[in-house]
């Protein structure tokens, strides 16, 4: 390993960035880049990461970073990759790194198109479940029952979270996976695996946000763990849209343990928590069935 690679392994981006204290996106970003290595080009739309990277003429990034308009991540990344391939450079990873707003909502069209075209790059959606960069407005990634500034108390979000991984699995992309920074080894494994696959790869990164979810900045990893342990955010992979593999089968804890540490859920009544529990259980059960079915299909 030469000096630059060693420095990258020590710190894949510079300190002094502008993330809030306790931001899980940075933890995920660090682990992802360590897994992918320095031959990576970042494409970042308008989102927290844009601002986190800092102000011209400085950058926190140690790799090339293209800032792009809000809804264009997947299209811009497609363009970057095409240019690299036109030059015969096949060993550089293009990494789209977008928030949930730029993925589930405004960026959805470009995302679906790039997935359909099986563009050869890795798209990571770090999901803090709202438009956090503009001050905590709801997105279609905001979970049922959550408070945001556009779903304030009295009208908290009464619709379920869009299941982005299932939507992308339906595009039959080579690889889709969920990761959580509280499970760093699983996250690292999946990025390493994704790096070796050609075609469109989508990674849904769970990103607890102290500022937007209203919890103490030291609990980001703990909440990531509770989300996985309570099955609110299962860790699984889908290959080619058909083969499901659940990476971790938690014993299960009540969703209340995950929800009630967060200010955005503090208002929930027991009936509402029961509904959430029911939905989580149902979704988990369906996931188990999908995995079983995909295994049986192979036989």
């Amino acid at each position: 390993m030469n000096i630059e690679e060693a420095a990258f392994q020590e710190a894949p981006f510079h300190p002094g960035h502008l993330a809030c204290a306790g931001c899980a996106e940075r933890i995920g970003h660090k682990l992802a880049l360590l897994a992918l290595g320095p031959k990576t080009i970042l494409v970042i739309p308008a989102c927290c990461s844009t601002v986190i990277d800092g102000i011209f003429p400085h950058t926190a990034s140690k790799i090339p970073l293209m800032h792009t308009a809000f809804e264009t991540t997947a299209a811009a990344a497609s363009g970057v990759k095409a240019a690299l391939l036109a030059e015969g450079k096949t060993d550089i990873t293009v990494l789209g790194w977008a928030g949930d707003g730029g993925t589930f909502d405004i960026g959805f069209q470009a995302l679906s198109a790039a997935a359909e075209r099986n563009e050869d790059f890795i798209y990571v959606c770090y999901d803090n479940e709202a438009y956090m960069n503009t001050g905590i407005q709801r997105s279609s990634a905001t979970p049922f029952g959550a408070w945001t500034t556009t779903t304030p108390l009295g009208q908290t979000k009464d619709l379920p979270k869009k299941n982005i991984v299932e939507i992308l699995a339906a595009h039959r992309i080579p690889y889709a996976a969920t990761v959580c920074p509280a499970y760093p080894q699983d996250l690292t494994n999946k990025f390493r695996k994704a790096k070796k696959i050609s075609g469109f790869r989508f990674i849904h990164l769970f990103s607890p946000c102290p500022t937007g979810w209203k919890f103490g900045s030291d609990l980001s990893i703990k909440l990531g763990r509770l989300a996985v342990e309570s099955k609110v955010f299962p860790l699984y992979e889908v290959e080619k849209g058909e083969k499901y593999h659940i990476n971790y089968r938690p014993k299960g804890i009540p969703v209340g343990e995950y929800l009630l540490d967060q200010g955005r859920f503090k208002h929930l009544k027991p009936e509402e928590i029961a509904v959430i529990q029911e939905n989580v259980d149902k979704a988990w059960h369906e996931l188990l069935l999908k995995e079983k079915y995909s295994q049986e299909k192979e036989i």
């Binding site: 002094g16 306790g22 682990l31 003429p57 950058t59 926190a60 030291d218 990893i221």
Partner: protein
């Protein structure tokens, strides 16, 4: 490095392209707190009377660095092969692992590393500085040996005076062979003596050598132990069928073989001596019962010893006391007993008052009394202040007489091997301070102890405690062969992996992995914090499994 602000368009690039990194932005200024990697004490460390650095050596065993682990243990404990076998392991009672499943079998790990050291680590004679004061140690039990061991490391010439023909004190005479084989004892003692300690056997100070003669020594450590079995003070106690339990143990350890086949033996007592005597008698062929004043759960003996005794077929009669003995014939005595009841008063104190009208009688061929030991004080120098059964000495072994230090069973009410070892070590430190005219550095300040609530249990998975590998009961009963075979290497590694390493950083990398601000960095196996960038989020503290890092207020910040 500063924030760049271009002063004129001529300096600027054509587009918003970055010129340099963000390191100029010292985000540490956002935070009023800073994480500090600060080891705390584990409860096992706190509770070990010898002061062994348990989490540190367990971590070294985990890494298979046995030599380093052995050296850590030997910094405080000169006889781990012995303590691993016989210590009552208060470390295990305090072990935080019990909140997840069962406490760590630290005794097995200590025994393993002690045995490994004896097999693999040669002993080099320590250089002795004759200009330093000479040290005399009276008594070669654990206290005396510990004191001598620590002082020879500092280069003091040392002579141990032992009145018996073999060294070891209670280790040799009080603890049965099947718990502590003589071979192991001899090996362990040799590894201490080979450092260059002179041992004079068959030499009792006050008889073969006078206390006056010991004036030539710069300081004297007296650790003559406690061998006087206490009396019950009941009628018939002086019958020949009633003997002190310690006597059976000593005689057996001296090699005498007793044939108690078919004999009914009662042992009165509730400590380890009672259990040792009972199991010894069993191996001599007897049918044994133990009478305990307290309930079985509250017996002073370790629960493992009680379990083994029960497995071997020894009966325990709880809440029983003896009122008197009566002579039946030369081989039989009547033992008149009463039942006790267990009472807890308002302050939580437990008492065992006699149950009226519960008299009953037993017969026995031999009654062994194990009610504890006192020290023989008459032959000790007059200058030493004594009370009824002990020499008065402070925590550091200092007595009322300058130059004289005392420890072990002679000076402590807690009469255990571990306490004796600890007292010998502290006395060594005090004697060294006295002789070198330096202040005594107490390394044991108030350091915070890691409690269960301080740990992050998410990082630990349940794993069963390794069971001791014991000889099958049937073969045990008739043999003095060592019962506990110790764990094999796989078992050791499985067990040591269960250690939480409470309060002691073992480089798990959690703080380093989870820092969003790249503010924790690794410097070899240590961690440091870039306070210029740390935003004080506290994730490192929250995710430390073992309470080795905490948030401290920065100077000048109001809380």
């Amino acid at each position: 490095m500063k924030r760049r602000i271009y002063q004129n368009e001529i300096e600027m690039p054509e587009v918003a392209i970055s010129e340099s990194g963000s390191e100029w932005n010292k985000t540490g200024g956002w935070s009023t707190v800073v994480p500090v990697h600060q080891n705390k004490r584990a409860p096992c460390q706190r509770d070990c009377p010898v002061g062994v650095d348990i989490p540190v050596y367990l971590d070294l065993i985990k890494q298979k660095k046995y030599l380093k682990a052995y050296k850590i243990v030997k910094e405080t404990n000169c006889m781990p092969a012995i303590t691993g076998r016989v210590c009552y392991h208060p470390c295990e009672d305090g072990c935080n692992r019990k909140v997840l499943d069962q406490p760590l079998a630290i005794h097995a790990l200590e025994r393993f590393i002690g045995d490994w050291g004896l097999d693999n680590v040669p002993v080099k004679k320590h250089k002795v500085d004759l200009s330093k004061g000479k040290i005399a140690v009276v008594g070669s039990g654990p206290a005396g040996i510990s004191c001598a061991y620590h002082l020879i490391q500092k280069g003091y010439p040392i002579t141990i005076y032992e009145k018996e023909s073999k060294p070891g004190g209670m280790l040799r005479f009080g603890i049965p062979e099947y718990r502590l084989p003589e071979k192991v004892l001899d090996k362990e003692l040799k590894s201490v003596f080979d450092l260059g300690i002179e041992v004079k056997l068959n030499c009792q100070v006050g008889k073969d050598v006078s206390w006056e003669e010991l004036k030539k020594f710069g300081a004297v450590f007296i650790a003559t132990g406690a061998y006087r079995s206490r009396k019950m003070n009941v009628t018939g106690e002086n019958l020949e069928q009633v003997k002190p339990a310690l006597e059976l143990l000593i005689e057996t350890n001296l090699g005498k073989k007793f044939d108690l086949t078919g004999q009914k033996v009662l042992v009165m007592g509730r400590g380890n001596t009672a259990i040792d005597a009972a199991r010894t008698a069993l191996r001599c062929g007897a049918e044994v019962s133990i009478l305990s004043r307290s309930g079985q759960q509250e017996m002073i003996a370790t629960q493992e010893e009680i379990q083994m005794a029960l497995e071997e077929g020894i009966q325990i009669l709880e809440l029983v006391d003896i009122g008197s003995f009566e002579w039946i014939d030369s081989n039989t005595a009547r033992v008149n007993c009463v039942r006790l009841k267990r009472e807890v008063n308002k302050t939580g104190k437990v008492r065992y008052p006699v149950m009226e009208g519960s008299d009953f009688s037993l017969t026995a061929n031999l009654v062994l009394v194990a009610k504890g030991q006192d020290s023989e004080l008459e032959s000790l120098p007059a200058e030493l202040e004594k009370d009824q059964s002990q020499v008065q000495a402070d925590r550091w072994g200092k007595t009322s007489a300058e130059r004289f230090y005392a420890g072990g069973d002679l000076a402590l009410s807690a009469k255990t091997v571990a306490f004796a070892l600890g007292s010998g070590r502290r006395a060594a430190l005090a004697m060294d301070a006295y002789l070198s005219k330096m202040g005594l550095k107490s390394g044991e300040e108030n350091i915070l102890v890691t409690r269960e609530a301080d740990l992050n249990l998410a990082y630990f998975m349940k794993a069963p405690r390794e069971e001791d590998v014991l000889t099958e009961v049937h073969s045990r009963k008739s043999s003095f062969k060592e019962v506990n075979a110790g764990l094999d290497q796989e078992g050791i590694l499985r067990e040591v992996a269960r250690c939480f390493s409470c309060g002691t950083c073992n480089s798990c990398d959690n703080c380093y992995t989870f820092c969003p601000d790249l503010a924790v960095f690794k410097d070899n196996h240590q961690y440091r914090v870039y306070t210029e960038y740390c935003k004080g989020c506290g994730i490192c503290v929250q995710e430390c499994p073992r309470d080795a890092i905490e948030l401290a207020l920065k100077l000048g910040e109001e809380s």
